[in-house]
């Protein structure tokens, strides 16, 4: 079913998804990897899967990445 991409995306679940608690536990480490250009998604596939799927955690990730980039620029 690809005729309704929003619903399709909403109902997709990734078995690698580690959930919010584990993602937030290592978010600072993950963000530094991303900021440095390292392959963070390969190193932490379960974290990457979660950040793609979870709106609030994804927003926190973007915010932390922006803060890190802002202070290192």
């Amino acid at each position: 079913m690809n005729g309704w991409p929003e619903l399709d995306r909403f109902l997709r679940t990734d078995p690698r998804d580690v959930g919010c608690a584990e993602a937030m536990e290592v978010l600072h480490v993950y963000v530094e990897l991303v900021a440095s250009g390292a392959p963070a998604e390969q190193q932490y596939p379960g974290i990457a899967a979660h950040l793609h799927a979870c709106g609030p955690c994804g927003e926190d990730f973007e915010a932390l990445l922006a803060a890190v980039r802002d202070t290192t620029d």
Binding site: E6, L7, D8, L11, T13, D14, A21, M24, V29, A67
Partner: protein, 184 residues
């Protein structure tokens, strides 16, 4: 310490300004939230100092603490100004939520009815409550966690399981692919 607080406040202000308008929080309220988040983050950082394991720069870890404080505070603040009934069920919101165009209603009407049936028959009462709040009533996940005395992780996990059940039910009736995703 004052310098750290200043940096935390700057990050909190930026985040509050970025997220606030979407949540209809503006002006002094937004500034208050930022100040509270920075102050509480500073206290949390001092209390958790022993938990910092040096896996990242200290500042990155500290920024994480203040950003999570902002999220929590905004989640709590949601209930000050909103009169959202958690058990109200606005199913009319669903077509817009999933980008279903009115002109194509003949194509999605059955799918939506099947989804409604699956919500009614496949989900546990708690999963249904979470689905209704998040999807039909548009309650932010952090705000729902506050209202239910829960936490982000537990609500997400409940919704994760609900999404999987709904997909399985729709797939069983030919409305959707069966597979869960593995991102490429």
């Amino acid at each position: 310490m004052a310098r750290l607080h200043g940096i935390l406040l700057r990050i909190a202000q930026r985040e509050c300004r970025r997220r606030g308008p979407r949540l209809r929080i503006t002006g002094p309220e937004l500034e208050d939230l930022a100040y509270q988040a920075a102050a509480d983050a500073l206290m949390a950082i001092i209390a958790k100092l022993g938990q910092f394991r040096g896996e990242s720069r200290f500042t990155t870890w500290a920024y994480k603490v203040v950003i999570l404080e902002v999220s929590t505070k905004i989640g709590r603040h949601f209930w000050r100004r909103r009169d959202v009934q958690l058990d109200a069920e606005d199913w009319d919101r669903l077509p817009g939520r999933f980008g279903f165009e009115p002109a194509q209603e003949s194509e999605w009407r059955d799918l939506l009815a099947a989804l409604h049936r699956a919500v009614d028959t496949e989900l546990t009462p708690r999963q249904r409550e979470v689905f209704v709040a998040l999807v039909l009533n548009g309650v932010p996940l952090d705000a729902l966690a506050v209202r239910l005395g829960s936490n982000r992780n537990a609500i997400y996990k409940m919704m994760f399981d609900a999404r999987r059940k709904l997909r399985t039910a729709l797939a069983a009736n030919g409305y959707m692919d069966h597979h869960t995703s593995r991102r490429s």
